[in-house]
């Protein structure tokens, strides 16, 4: 569906994005695009959409109108009542479109239809674009930090809406987000970027196995658990956590027993994106920077 080859985006002297190995996104893929600020996530989306200059090749069998996107900033005419924006963009009559009415109802948007765009709150503005993007129902959709800046409850509601809408559909999704728990609910592939370079790209399962092992046991980072950790294989984790890794079922069983015996709370995971991403970055950058990165990272 989409192939990215030898892509290079520069802003002045600075390389914003450089993709050397081809990235192939197949129909039905749900790709989470993650990385720190300035990693090149939005630059990648903008390149694919053709709204930033790049060198290289982006191939697709889709027409421009078969791709839709929810950008970080989405603006419409301030003085226009929202219902006219919706009807113009989708070229439908809201009253005659049942699917659209369902979406409006699901996102509690009925009360906003007669408001002018300038009078919508931040969350309402996000919901407007989400409704438009979902109703467009294109084969390829990009969401660039769709829930950023929203409160927890609104984020949850939006994500549940997206999950429900795309359940059972073959739509290809590319989702840029800093909220890993949201990605865990929706994506089956990950593209990890750092400082404009690709750290890893693949299915969540293969990347998890490659960088985290078969299973992770995640504990709080306290003195007791630090002591416990010393007996086992651990990998990098956020500062407040400890991540123990197991490669076989046997190792898992032993560790579980010991954790129960030591009365330690734990979470078992074979899909934690945050720890996966930390370890992928550390391991891949260590190859490039001769290990110094890992030391700095841990420190």
């Amino acid at each position: 569906m989409l192939t990215i080859k030898d892509l290079r985006v520069t802003y002045g002297e600075q390389i914003a994005l450089s993709i050397e190995e081809p990235i192939v996104i197949e129909a039905g893929d749900r790709v989470g695009i993650i990385g720190s600020n300035g990693a090149g996530k939005s630059t990648l989306v903008k390149s694919i959409l053709g709204i930033t200059k790049y060198e290289g090749t982006i191939l697709t069998n889709l027409r421009q109108e078969e791709i839709s996107v929810h950008l970080q900033q989405n603006n419409y005419v301030n003085t226009m009542p929202v219902k006219y924006i919706i009807e113009m963009v989708l070229s439908v009559n809201i009253k005659k479109d049942n699917k659209l009415q369902e979406l409006i109802s699901y996102f509690n948007f009925e009360g906003c239809l007669n408001k002018k765009y300038a009078h919508l709150s931040g969350g309402e503005k996000q919901r407007l674009t989400i409704i438009l993007v979902l109703r467009k129902d294109t084969p390829l959709v990009f969401f660039d930090e769709v829930t950023s800046g929203l409160d927890f409850e609104t984020r949850q509601k939006l994500m549940q809406g997206l999950i429900k809408w795309y359940d059972g559909k073959n739509t290809t999704l590319c989702m840029v987000s800093h909220y890993y728990e949201e990605l865990e609910q929706l994506v089956n592939k990950l593209l990890i970027l750092e400082k404009g370079h690709v750290i890893a790209y693949g299915t969540r399962e293969e990347l998890f196995y490659k960088y985290c092992g078969k299973t992770l046991y995640i504990l709080d980072n306290n003195d007791k658990n630090k002591e416990f950790k010393k007996q086992f294989k651990s990998i990098l984790a956020p500062e407040h956590l400890i991540a123990l890794t197991c490669d076989t079922e046997e190792e898992e069983r032993n560790l579980t027993e010991l954790l129960i015996h030591a009365n330690i709370d734990y979470k078992r995971s074979n899909s934690d994106i945050e720890i996966l991403s930390i370890n992928a970055k550390a391991q891949e950058l260590a190859k490039v920077e001769g290990g110094s990165f890992v030391e700095n990272f841990v420190a």
Partner: protein, 262 residues
Amino acid sequence: MKTLLPNKRMIFYELRNLLGNFFTLFFGIAFPIAFSILMPSIITRDLPENAQSEAIITVFVTMSMVIPMAVMLLGYAANYAQEVENDVPLRLDLFGIQPKKLFVAKLIAHLIFITIAFILYFFVDWIVLDIKMPNTKMIVLWISCLYLLAIIFFMIAHGITTIVKKFGITFAVTMLLYFSFMILCGMMGITVEQLPKALKNVALLLPMSYISKDFVGIWDGGSYNYAPLIQSFLFLAAIAGILVLLGIRKSKRTQGIYQKVE
């Protein structure tokens, strides 16, 4: 080939968009009507009775050009520049609404609006002022010139906005053009003939100058040398066309995404 023609919904959307713009409503309707009604009572005061009718026609014809200038050059530029600054056209483009189609929808909406503005202007002035009825050929010529001017001003405003992309600069440039055209083309009380030679030469490059100074002379018919008027229209249209092309070039999306997998 994809059609450039927008649907009715897009045109009505752009009409609503236009009606939300104070500049367009005030400078495009209220201002020319008020000015064309007030001006004759001031300028005819010192004129002999046999020259008064001609003066009223001159004001009536000259102020009619303020409508396309204000609606297209000022109003549209102000409105569209705010949209461009906020990436609204890009947002619509990403929803599959092509910029060319949006351009046509905006143009049609603005032409509908100026038609309403012309009707109001002619109707109010006809009732209030004592204007002699022109001959049919003159009516066709005058209205054609107004619509041609409207399309050219629309293109100039669109071109400047897409090149500049900032509301403040766009508004300053179009305001400067608006007042320059008003001064040069006899809309501010100074006739083209009264201008210093250098400015007069510039004024004679613009079709508005010929409309304001010549149309009163052929109000009842008679022969007229159309060549300078046509040349000036071609000149202004060429500038407008260049501005639009530069704007398209500047705001064009890159082509990579359109490369197809065979």
